[in-house]
Amino acid sequence: MTRYHVSATVNGDEIDFLCEPEQTLLDVLRDELHLTGTKEGCASGDCGACSVMLDGRLVCSCLVTGAEVGDCAIETIEGMADGERLHPLQQKFLDHAALQCGYCTPGLLVAAKALLERNPDPTETETRYWLAGNLCRCTGYDKIVRAVLDTAAEMRGE
C-alpha cells in the first residue's frame, strides 16, 4: 500500500512520518508518533477527545488525514506544560477537581486554551458554547467551566 511521507512540526519539534491514505492525524499521533495523550472517543468529530491545534486552529484530529498536515504546526497536550511548569489551565483543572477519569481532559484543555487565546474574558455562556464540542461524561461540566473561568481571571491578573 502506498504510504505518504509527511514532514511537520509537533509541539515545536520537526518530525517525519509515513502514513496510509486512510490514517487520520489522530491515528498518526497515537500509532506512528506514540503521542498517546490525544484520545479517541468517537473518531467521527463528535466528542472532542482528540482536539489538537493545527496551524493555530482548534481541530478534531480524527477529522484530519495524516497526509494533509505536511508543513503544518501541530500542538498537542504533550506540549502544553512549559518544562516543569504546568499551564495555568492544567493547574486550575487540578485545583478545581475538573477531572474525574481524565479521559476527556487533554481535549478539553487544548480546547480551553484555544478559547482563552481568542477571548481572555469569556462569560460562562461563551465558555459553555465553546466547550460544547468536548464531551465529558464524568463531571457534569460544572467544575470544568469554573476552572476555565478561574484561569481566565488569573491570566488577566485579577
Binding site: 500500500m1 496510509e20 486512510e22 491515528d27 497515537r30 500509532d31 506514540h34 503521542l35 498517546t36 495523550g37 490525544t38 484520545k39 479517541e40 472517543g41 468517537c42 473518531a43 467521527s44 463528535d46 466528542c47 477527545a49 498537542t76 497536550i77 504533550e78 502544553m80 506544560a81 504546568l86 492544567q90 483543572f93 487540578l94 478545581h96 477537581a97 477531572l99 474525574q100 477519569c101 481524565g102 479521559y103 476527556c104 481532559t105 487533554p106 484543555l109 455562556t125 465558555t127 459553555r128 458554547y129 466547550l131 460544547a132 464540542g133 468536548n134 464531551l135 465529558c136 461524561r137 464524568c138 463531571t139 457534569g140 461540566y141 460544572d142 467544575k143 470544568i144 467551566v145 469554573r146
Partner: protein, 765 residues
C-alpha cells in the same frame, strides 16, 4: 479474617487533619499532561492490531463461518471464531452488583449457535496494521440464517414472540412452566399486605411508565492489549474497573490456569458499570496465543453502542395508596425489564430500591427479567434503581398533588429513617433520607420564584452500596514514606481519598503516601470497583492496614526504649511513651523508625485481606427547575440541586463531582438519550451525533449538597457516594415538567417531539 481484627489499636479521639479536605490527586499531573495511560495507550514491540467482526442481524443462526480468505490476506496473523473457545457450562458468577452465567458470557464474547443482536461479535482478526485488520473482516464469510427478532420488552413477553432461547423456562413461577419463554425470571420483594394497605387508602394513584435503553456513555471505548508467550503465560492490559474479574473470566474462557494470567488495569476512562464485564480480553488473548505476538484491540464508538452496555429499557406499572393525612398505606409495582440477549437485567436491584426511600408497612414489587435481541445489559450507576425510581417517584409526585401536600413534605411524612424495615430485608441503622429532604427544602434554590413556563420538580432515590473482597498492602519505605498498593482501579480519585485516610491514621502528610493500583500478581483478590464500594471498602481495609503498621511501629519503639508496647502510643506520626510513668524518651518519628528498620527487625508493612461488610445505605433528594418552550417542546434545565448523604466526605470536591456527574447523566437520560432500532432490529443511532448526551451548553451549574450522616460501620463514616445521585433525576425532571405545563409524561425520554405532542394534546390542537 484480617490481621487487623486481632489488633488492640488505640482509639484516638483526634481532630481530623486531612479527612474532609481537598488534597492534590496523585494521578492528577499525569492526567492533565497526557501522560496517563489508558486502555489503548500501551504500545508493545511487535504488537498487532485486532478487529472484531460483528453481526449485522438482530437474530440469526450461524450455519458456518469461512475465514480462509481473511487468513490468506497478507499481514493477517490470526483469526479466531467460536471454534477457538470451549463451551462453558451453566454457572452463575458475580459481576459487580449483578450476577451472570458464564455460559452466557462465552456466548456474548463470541457468538456460538446464533447471533443474538445487531453488533454481536462473530469473529476477530489480528493483523500488522489496523487497516489490514479491517480489510480482513470483510473477507470473512458468515452463513447467517436470519430469524425473527424482538426488541420491546412487552412484545418479548407475549406467548407468540420469537423465542431467543428454546431451553429457557421462566424461573420463579410455580408450577414450573411447560413452555419455554423469553421471561427468564419472575421475582418478588414483599413486606406486609398490600391488599390491606390499599383498603386503608383514601387516594390511590395507578400508572404505567416506560423507559428506553440508555448507554453508560463513558468517553473511553473498551480497549486492551494481550500477549501470550510460548511458555503458556498470558498478560493482559486493559481498561477495566476490575482486573481480578478480567483474570477470572479470561483465564476461564481461554482454558488457562489463573496463575498463568497476569492482568494489569490501565487508567480507565469512565465505566459507570458498563465495563464491569469482559468483551475483548479473551479475543485478544486467543489471537495472541495463535500467533505469538501481542495484540491490541480497541473498539470503535459504534461498537461500544451496538455491543456493550447499555442498561434496560423497561415497562412498569405502579400503584400507591395513601390516606388524606399524607401517610402512604401501600406501594405496589410490576417491573418488566429488558435484559438484552442474555438474562441478567438489573430488575432485582430495581425492585429492592423501588420503595426503599420510605417507611412503609405494605409493599409488593414484582419483577420480570426478559431477554430480547439487544446487547446484553450491564450495570449502569445504581443499576435498575433509577428506572424504578422514575416510575415510583413520578407517582409519588402525583400523589402529593392529589393530596395537596408539598412534595418534600409528603416525602418527609413517609421518609425511611433509623429503624425502618426496608421491604428488601434490612432494618436501617442511621440513614440520611430525612436530612437530604431537609437540605433540599432549606436550600435557597427551593425558594427562587418561577416564571411562566417554568416548573420545579423533586424526587428522592436510594442505593444500597456494597463492600466485598478487598486486599491492601502498605509498605513503609526506608525514608519513612509509604507505598500503598490497592487492587481497585481508580475511576474518579479514589486512590487519593484512600491515601487521605491512611495519612489520617498514620499522622503524616498525604503527600508522603504513594498509592498505586497493583496488578493481579501483587495482591490477593479484589472485587471490582462497583457498587460505590471503593472508597468505603478499600478505605476501610487501608485503615486496617495502617493500624497493623502502627502496631509494628510502636513495637519497634517499645523495643528501642525497652518498655512494654502498651506503654507506647502513636500520635502525629510519632511514637511516644504513653505517660511519664512509662519513661522519658524522645519521640521517634516514622522516619526515625523506618531508617533503623533494617537493624530492628527488617521491613515494616501491613497487609489486609478481608471481605468488607457494613456498606452504608445511601439516599439522595434532588430538585430541578425547568423551563419548557411551548413552541418546540424543548426543556431547559435552569437549576439543579443534588443533596446526597455521603456518610462522610473524605474529599468534598470529589464527592461534589460525583453528585454533579450523576445528575448530568440523569439529565441526559431524562431529556434525550435512547437506543433507536429500525424494523430489522439494527441500532439506528450508534454514535454521539445521534445518541445525544448532554454537552456543556445544555446545562447550568449543578449545586451539590453534601449531607453527612456517618456510617457507623466505617472508621471515618464513609458510605458509598458514586451512584445514588443519578437515581432521582428522571422523575424529578418529569415532575418539573408537570409543574411547568400541567402535562404529565410517563415515558422517557422527555424529548422535544414527545413534549410538544403532549402539550398540543392538552391544548386540544
Amino acid at each position: 479474617m484480617s490481621a487487623a481484627e486481632d489488633l488492640d489499636y488505640q482509639e484516638k479521639p483526634h481532630e481530623l487533619k486531612w479527612v474532609g479536605t481537598n488534597v492534590a490527586r496523585t494521578d492528577g499531573v499525569d492526567k492533565v499532561t497526557g501522560r496517563a495511560r489508558f486502555g489503548a495507550d500501551l504500545i508493545m514491540s511487535g504488537m498487532l492490531f485486532g478487529a472484531v467482526l460483528r453481526s449485522p442481524h438482530a437474530h440469526a443462526r450461524i450455519n458456518g463461518i469461512d475465514t480462509s480468505r481473511a487468513e490468506a490476506l497478507k499481514g493477517v496473523k490470526a483469526v479466531v471464531t467460536r471454534n477457538d473457545f470451549e463451551d462453558q457450562p451453566s454457572e452463575m458468577i458475580q459481576v459487580g452488583e449483578l450476577t451472570v452465567n458464564i455460559r452466557d458470557v462465552i456466548r456474548n464474547v463470541l457468538a456460538r449457535e446464533k447471533a443474538m443482536y445487531d453488533g454481536h461479535a462473530v469473529a476477530a482478526v489480528a493483523a500488522t496494521s489496523a487497516s489490514i485488520a479491517r480489510k480482513a473482516l470483510k473477507l470473512i464469510e458468515v452463513d447467517y440464517e436470519v430469524l425473527p427478532h424482538v426488541i420491546d420488552v412487552v412484545e418479548a413477553m407475549k406467548p407468540d414472540a420469537p423465542l431467543l432461547d428454546e431451553k429457557q423456562f421462566t424461573d420463579g413461577v410455580d408450577p414450573k412452566p411447560d413452555k419455554p419463554s423469553n421471561v427468564a425470571k419472575r421475582l418478588e420483594i414483599k413486606l406486609g399486605d398490600v391488599e390491606k394497605g390499599f383498603a386503608e387508602a383514601d387516594v390511590v394513584i395507578e400508572r404505567e411508565y416506560k423507559t428506553r435503553p440508555v448507554h453508560q456513555g463513558y468517553i473511553e471505548p473498551h480497549a486492551c492489549v494481550a500477549s501470550y508467550t510460548e511458555d503458556g503465560q498470558g498478560e493482559v492490559w486493559c481498561s477495566t474497573p476490575g482486573h481480578f474479574l478480567v483474570r477470572a473470566i479470561t483465564s476461564r474462557l481461554c482454558g488457562i490456569e489463573v496463575s498463568k494470567l497476569k492482568v494489569t488495569a490501565s487508567e480507565i476512562g469512565g465505566g459507570f458499570g458498563g465495563k464491569n464485564i469482559v468483551y475483548l480480553e479473551p479475543l485478544a488473548l486467543a489471537l495472541s496465543r495463535k500467533c505469538g505476538r501481542p495484540v491490541k484491540i480497541a473498539m470503535h464508538r459504534s461498537e461500544v453502542f451496538r455491543a456493550t452496555g447499555p442498561t434496560s429499557g423497561a415497562h412498569m406499572k405502579v400503584k400507591i395508596g395513601a390516606r388524606r393525612d399524607g401517610r402512604i398505606t401501600a406501594g405496589w409495582a410490576e417491573l418488566m425489564f429488558q435484559a438484552g440477549a442474555f438474562p441478567g437485567s438489573p430488575v432485582f436491584p430495581a425492585a429492592m430500591c423501588a420503595y426503599a426511600c420510605y417507611d412503609l408497612e405494605n409493599v409488593l414489587v414484582i419483577g420480570y427479567d426478559v431477554i430480547a435481541n439487544r446487547p446484553k445489559t450491564t450495570a449502569y450507576r445504581a443499576p435498575g434503581a433509577q428506572i424504578s425510581a422514575f416510575a415510583v417517584e413520578s407517582a409519588m409526585d402525583e400523589m402529593a398533588r392529589a393530596l395537596g401536600i408539598d412534595p418534600v413534605d409528603f416525602r418527609l411524612m413517609n421518609a425511611a429513617k433509623e429503624g425502618t424495615k426496608a421491604a428488601y430485608g434490612p432494618t436501617f441503622g442511621p440513614v440520611g433520607q430525612v436530612e437530604t429532604l431537609k437540605a433540599i427544602k432549606n436550600h435557597p434554590n427551593y425558594r427562587v420564584p418561577l416564571g411562566p413556563n417554568q416548573g420545579r420538580g423533586v424526587a428522592s432515590g436510594f442505593w444500597f452500596n456494597i463492600g466485598g473482597e478487598t486486599s491492601v498492602t502498605m509498605n513503609v519505605n526506608d525514608d519513612g514514606t509509604i507505598a500503598l498498593t490497592v487492587g481497585n482501579p481508580d475511576l474518579s480519585g479514589t486512590r487519593t481519598s484512600i491515601s487521605v485516610m491512611a495519612a489520617e491514621e498514620l499522622g503524616i502528610d498525604p503527600e508522603r503516601i504513594r498509592p498505586a493500583v497493583g496488578d493481579t500478581t501483587s495482591l490477593g483478590f479484589n472485587f471490582i470497583s462497583a457498587g460505590s464500594r471503593t472508597t468505603f471498602a478499600v478505605g476501610k481495609a487501608t485503615v486496617d492496614a495502617a493500624r497493623v503498621v502502627i502496631g509494628e511501629l510502636r513495637a519497634r519503639a517499645a523495643a528501642a526504649w525497652n518498655i512494654p508496647v502498651e506503654a507506647v502510643v502513636w500520635e502525629d506520626g510519632r511514637a511516644r511513651p504513653a505517660s511519664s510513668n512509662a519513661g522519658d524518651f524522645e519521640p521517634l518519628s516514622l522516619e526515625d523508625i523506618a531508617r533503623d528498620a533494617k537493624k530492628t527487625g527488617g521491613p515494616i508493612a501491613g497487609h489486609v485481606e478481608t471481605n468488607v461488610s457494613g456498606a452504608g445505605p445511601s439516599f439522595a433528594t434532588e430538585a430541578v427547575d425547568v423551563e419548557v418552550d411551548p413552541e418546540t417542546g424543548h426543556i431547559k434545565i435552569l437549576r439543579f440541586t443534588a443533596a446526597q448523604d455521603a456518610g462522610r466526605a473524605i474529599q468534598p470536591n470529589l464527592v461534589e463531582g460525583q453528585y454533579q456527574g450523576a445528575a448530568v447523566q440523569g439529565i441526559g437520560w431524562a431529556l434525550n438519550e435512547e437506543y433507536i432500532y429500525d424494523e430489522r432490529g439494527r441500532m439506528e443511532n450508534p454514535g454521539f451525533l445521534d445518541y445525544r448526551m448532554p454537552v456543556a451548553s445544555d446545562l447550568p451549574m449543578i449545586d451539590a449538597v453534601i449531607v453527612e450522616v456517618p456510617n457507623p460501620n466505617h472508621p471515618y463514616g464513609v458510605r458509598g457516594i458514586g451512584e445514588t445521585s443519578i437515581v432521582p433525576v428522571m422523575a424529578a425532571v418529569a415532575n418539573a415538567l408537570e409543574d411547568a405545563t400541567g402535562v404529565r409524561i410517563q415515558e422517557l425520554p422527555l424529548s422535544p417531539p414527545r413534549v410538544l405532542k403532549a402539550l398540543n394534546e392538552k391544548n386540544g390542537s
